[in-house]
């Protein structure tokens, strides 16, 4: 198959651009880089480390539950394990891993030289990393959060949880929301302002629609979590009464705030992964995605409807049936946009010519797991049956089909697809097959029986269970499957490490992909595109075969090789509007994040002095960060 040869920059051009864009070696470069590709890879590696931590916690839980009446861990340890497992996977793995893909890929997908706010980008990584370390420092003092990832009051109030456990929880989440918020702002502005000329809004990859929707959801959903965490901290630390029923507060306030945030968050961690599949699947099917517009609109619709279903987490709280029925109906309705995506993928495979590679296998598996997680979700949407299902292992099965099926399998597909672009080397196909089948079979063997244990009446969050209830066999099968699945995940890591060192060279476009990132070398040079392309269609590299008459120009255009700049275009039609000066590497982001860490430790150990020192540091660094450079002042005058 003929591939459009990517235009290679001349040596002189390459040298000039490298001088402008390359991160300096050494410590300054390491801590100061604002290169979106380095930040993206750091996000991916860090979130995979959190995945392994959360997985290890799950492994211990599965050993404890393999049989009735086991005493491998104490109830206290078990409660910390299941809380840390949930918090880690949901907050420090599932969302950040997608930010990793977005950070690495976005400027490459849209023909830009970097994200809109490169320093903010670095800042969102450092706050993500440091908030995670803050959370895990709780392990060192043996007081990890133990109130569940949902942390219902009053159990998590100071009366019933006097230790530092829940302070770690409230403060670490508050810390993380800073990272997610600045990241979301960066994605939104990048998408609307930094696309190459000609890349109108209907030409962006679906992955970007997913992350755009996710970013808006983050901006509207996270404040509810931040507010809830601040209230929890105030109740615990200063004795306010937001959740204290005896003093006029109400524990259900926490639940409403938490799930107003919590349900959109489910879509936050799956929509970009669905986007990965919508973009990578067509490459392996040798045709464009069926129903681009329908899938893009379905993505946005899901994000919006996601804000109207939170009460389906509260069907047993005693709300009146009329209220339940509205949220039940909305939860049924949200299935439709997902069904649109599923049938768009199936139609793409059916009408295409699939080339079966590991990435494709992960996507095909993803579709099946998505459907299983989707239909079990419909069962939980039926309010009166959910009053039976809720807080049983059926829900544990459902949410893992959603979060592992749609997030992790999508991520694995994306890793196999874009690893060559990130590193210049191919992942091993043979090991890849082993990797996929171990994960797929292990996952289903481990998690499908959880539906059964749930239907047999086994509740969630129990550290042990009695014999004689018919729960032993299914739990043993679950444990065996979970360990097989863990082996699969380790095979993925092994493949990543091995192929990083000895993988076959990838070349610019190993999969014959259609989008802009495949037009440049692998790994991309620090400046991404030597020439900023002018985009003529959704599939710039497939135009000669699609015969639609569109023409993307890759070889000629602005080179911007005098200063660190990139192009700014209009939000919808991507008409050139300006040339933007991009910031240099800087230590402000990492130092600012360190200052914040001091503030949070001060709040944790109730040390006014430490909080004050951190606060002053943060203030000073903010001023320094925002201080206009001489150049900008001259431009003003």
């Amino acid at each position: 198959m003929a591939t459009v040869a990517p235009p290679l920059p001349t040596a002189a051009q390459d040298q000039r651009l490298r001088r402008i864009w390359e991160t300096k070696p050494g410590l300054f470069g390491f801590f100061g880089t604002v290169d979106h590709k380095k930040i993206g890879k750091r996000y991916l590696v860090t979130s995979l480390v959190f995945l392994l931590l959360g997985g290890a916690e799950a492994a211990v839980m599965r050993l404890q539950l393999a049989h009735s009446n086991q005493h491998l861990v104490t109830p206290e340890q078990y409660n910390q394990l299941f809380t840390m497992h949930g918090v880690t996977m949901i907050f420090w793995y599932a969302a950040p891993v997608l930010s990793g893909f977005s950070n690495f890929l976005w400027p490459l997908l849209i023909g830009s030289r970097d994200m809109a706010f490169p320093r903010l980008n670095a800042y969102s990584y450092w706050t993500f990393l440091l908030s995670g370390l803050f959370l895990y420092s709780s392990v060192l003092v043996g007081q990890s959060p133990d109130g569940g990832w949902f942390a219902y009051v009053p159990l998590t109030g100071s009366a019933f949880s006097p230790g530092l456990n829940l302070d770690f929880y409230a403060l670490a989440l508050l810390f993380l929301t800073i990272s997610a918020t600045v990241g979301a702002i960066n994605f939104i502005v990048t998408l609307f302002k930094l696309r190459a000329p000609g890349m109108s809004i209907n030409r962006i990859p679906i992955f970007m629609w997913g992350t755009l929707t996710n970013s808006f959801s983050i901006l509207f959903a996270l404040p509810a979590l931040s507010v809830a965490c601040v209230m929890l901290y105030l109740d615990r630390r200063f004795g306010t009464h937001f959740f204290d029923a005896a003093a006029g507060g109400h524990p259900l306030l926490w639940q409403h705030l938490f799930w107003i945030f919590g349900h959109p968050w489910v879509y936050i961690v799956v929509l970009p992964a669905m986007g990965i599949v919508s973009d990578a699947l067509p490459t392996f099917c040798r045709r464009p995605l069926v129903g681009y517009t329908a899938v893009a609109l379905a993505t946005v619709t899901t994000g919006i409807l996601g804000f109207g279903v939170w009460v389906h987490h509260m069907f047993a709280t005693g709300l009146p049936p009329l209220a339940l029925s509205f949220f039940s109906a909305a939860s049924f309705a949200i299935t439709i946009p997902s069904a649109i995506a599923v049938f768009a993928w199936i139609a793409t495979i059916w009408t295409g010519r699939p080339v079966i590679r590991t990435s494709f296998l992960f996507m095909a598996g993803f579709i099946v797991l998505f459907v299983i997680g989707g239909v079990s979700g419909v069962a939980t949407a039926a309010a009166s049956f959910d009053q039976q299902l809720t807080d049983t292992y059926f829900v544990v099965a459902h949410l893992h089909y959603v979060l592992i099926g749609i997030n992790l399998f999508g991520v694995a597909a994306g890793v196999y697809y874009w690893f060559p672009k990130m590193t210049g080397r191919m992942l091993d196909e043979r090991l890849g097959r082993w990797n996929f089948w171990t994960m797929f079979l292990g996952f289903n063997l481990g998690f499908f029986p959880m539906h059964i244990s749930g239907l047999l009446g086994m509740p969630r969050r129990v550290y042990t269970y009695p014999a004689g209830l018919g729960w032993d066999t299914v739990n043993l099968i679950t444990t065996v499957g979970a360990f097989l699945f863990a082996v699969g995940v380790l095979l993925l890591i092994a493949n990543l490490v091995r192929s990083r060192l000895t993988g076959a060279a990838a070349g610019p476009n190993p999969w014959d992909g259609p989008t802009l990132e495949w037009a440049i070398s692998s790994p991309p040079p620090p400046y991404n595109f030597a020439v900023i392309p002018t985009v003529g269609s959704r599939h710039p590299l497939w135009e000669d075969r699609l015969k639609e008459g569109a023409r993307t120009v890759l070889a000629e255009g602005p080179t911007l090789d005098q200063e660190k700049t990139t192009l700014e275009t209009s939000p919808l039609d991507a008409v050139l509007t300006d040339v933007l000066r991009m910031p240099e590497d800087s230590l402000y982001p990492v130092l600012h994040a360190v200052g914040l860490t001091a503030v949070f430790y001060g709040l944790l150990i109730r040390s006014t002095a430490l909080s004050l020192v951190g606060g002053i540091l943060v203030l000073a660094l903010t001023i320094g960060w925002l201080w206009p450079a001489r150049r900008e002042l001259e431009a003003e005058s």
Binding site: P75, E76, N79, Y152, P154, L155, F160, A245, A246, G249, P251, R286, R287, V290, G291, A316, T317, G318, S328, F332, I336, A339, V342, A344, I346, A347, I349, W350, T351, G352, R353, P354, A364, V368, V371, V375, S376, V378, A381, A382, A383, S384, F385, Q387, Q388, D391, I452, L455, L456, G457, P459, R460, Y463, T464, Y465, G468, L469, G470, T473, R545
Partner: protein
């Protein structure tokens, strides 16, 4: 047991009695289980069809390749498979589930009896109200109900959020500070139905069981009358020693035995503890050995439980257990 087909894995476990809500008994449980089976069968059907479609999509026979790439087509898949069929199925099941929600929200007939249930870490206080104080019965972890009539439950909590759940009788209703939730149960057949706290409530959430004992009307009336009686004074010498030890030691600070000076309210009322099937909220069966071990070291079988170990001499412990066993 069930009038519905049994999933293979359920059959595998069917040799043991599981508290599955797919084997219901009673008005609410029946309706929820019927809805559940419909939803699960539709789910299984959709999974099979879509999985088959994915496999067929990959392997079906294709015409020979041509030079150019297919750019359009396939939208019918989305219209039919992604919108029309799911919308029809979802609309029908949604209407059905709303009907069940309306049916189960209210009792079929006026409830014959009201029981007040209060959640505590980690046990259930069960109270049968009455117009006079001599009619009030307070027990723990065991609800007796007459068979075939709706029983109204008033649910509240003494500390954190718990959730009341008897899978075979009805779905969950939470016990939430600051509000009193109502639920109702009805059992078709006599028997005992296992229940368990369903909202995570801390260290011993795993050991907060409750049993509903459904009895024929006459049997239930006799049971309630017996429970209304204060504890009978022991006649046996050792039990008398046990009673004195119980009343004078720390036991009475938390436990009540009606008819004695023991009037603590932090732990379960023990007036008729000898008649209960289980102790420690369903953790242990009510045998002399278990009772002895429990009093000696409650932390061994329920680590984190609020009840402290009471330092009795072996002969004292024996006397206390003898006394408690006699409280039928």
């Amino acid at each position: 047991m069930s009038r519905y087909p049994i999933l293979p894995a359920l059959a595998l476990a069917a040799c043991e009695p599981s508290p599955s809500y797919l084997r219901p008994s009673g008005y609410v449980g029946d309706r929820q289980a019927a809805l559940g089976w419909v939803l699960l069968l539709i789910a299984a059907f959709v999974i099979v069809v879509v999985s088959a479609l994915v496999i067929a999509a990959v392997y079906h026979r294709r015409p020979a390749a041509s030079g150019s790439m297919r750019a359009t087509g396939g939208l019918r898949w989305i219209v039919v498979g992604g919108v029309a069929i799911p919308a029809a199925i979802l609309l029908a099941t949604m209407v059905y589930s709303m009907v069940v929600l309306a049916q189960t929200a209210r009792a079929s007939t006026a409830p014959a009896l009201t029981v007040q249930v209060t959640g505590h870490r980690w046990w259930w206080e069960v109270r049968y109200p009455g117009t006079e104080s001599s009619e009030v019965v307070t027990g723990a972890n065991e609800i007796h109900i007459p068979v075939g009539v709706p029983v109204k439950l008033e649910l509240s909590t003494g500390d954190v959020i718990h959730s009341f759940w008897i899978p075979q009788l009805a779905g969950k209703t939470d016990l939430i500070p600051g509000q009193r939730n109502l639920a109702w149960i009805e059992a078709d057949r006599p028997g005992s139905y296992r229940g368990q706290c369903a909202e995570y409530c801390g260290l011993q959430h795993a050991h907060m069981m409750i049993t509903v004992v459904a009895q024929p009307r006459g049997e239930f009336t006799r049971w309630l009358a017996a429970q209304r009686q204060p504890a009978t004074a022991p006649t046996d010498g050792e039990a008398l020693v046990g009673r004195d030890l119980f009343v004078r030691s720390a036991c009475s600070l938390c436990h009540t035995v009606r008819g004695t000076e023991a009037g603590g309210i932090l732990g379960p009322d023990l007036t008729h503890v000898g008649s209960r099937r289980m102790i420690a909220a369903g953790t242990l069966s009510n045998t002399p050995g278990n009772l002895t071990g429990w009093i000696e070291n409650p932390q061994a079988s329920k680590p984190g439980v609020i009840m402290p170990a009471i330092p009795f001499q072996p002969n004292q412990l024996h006397a206390v257990v003898t006394y408690l066993r006699a409280l039928e």
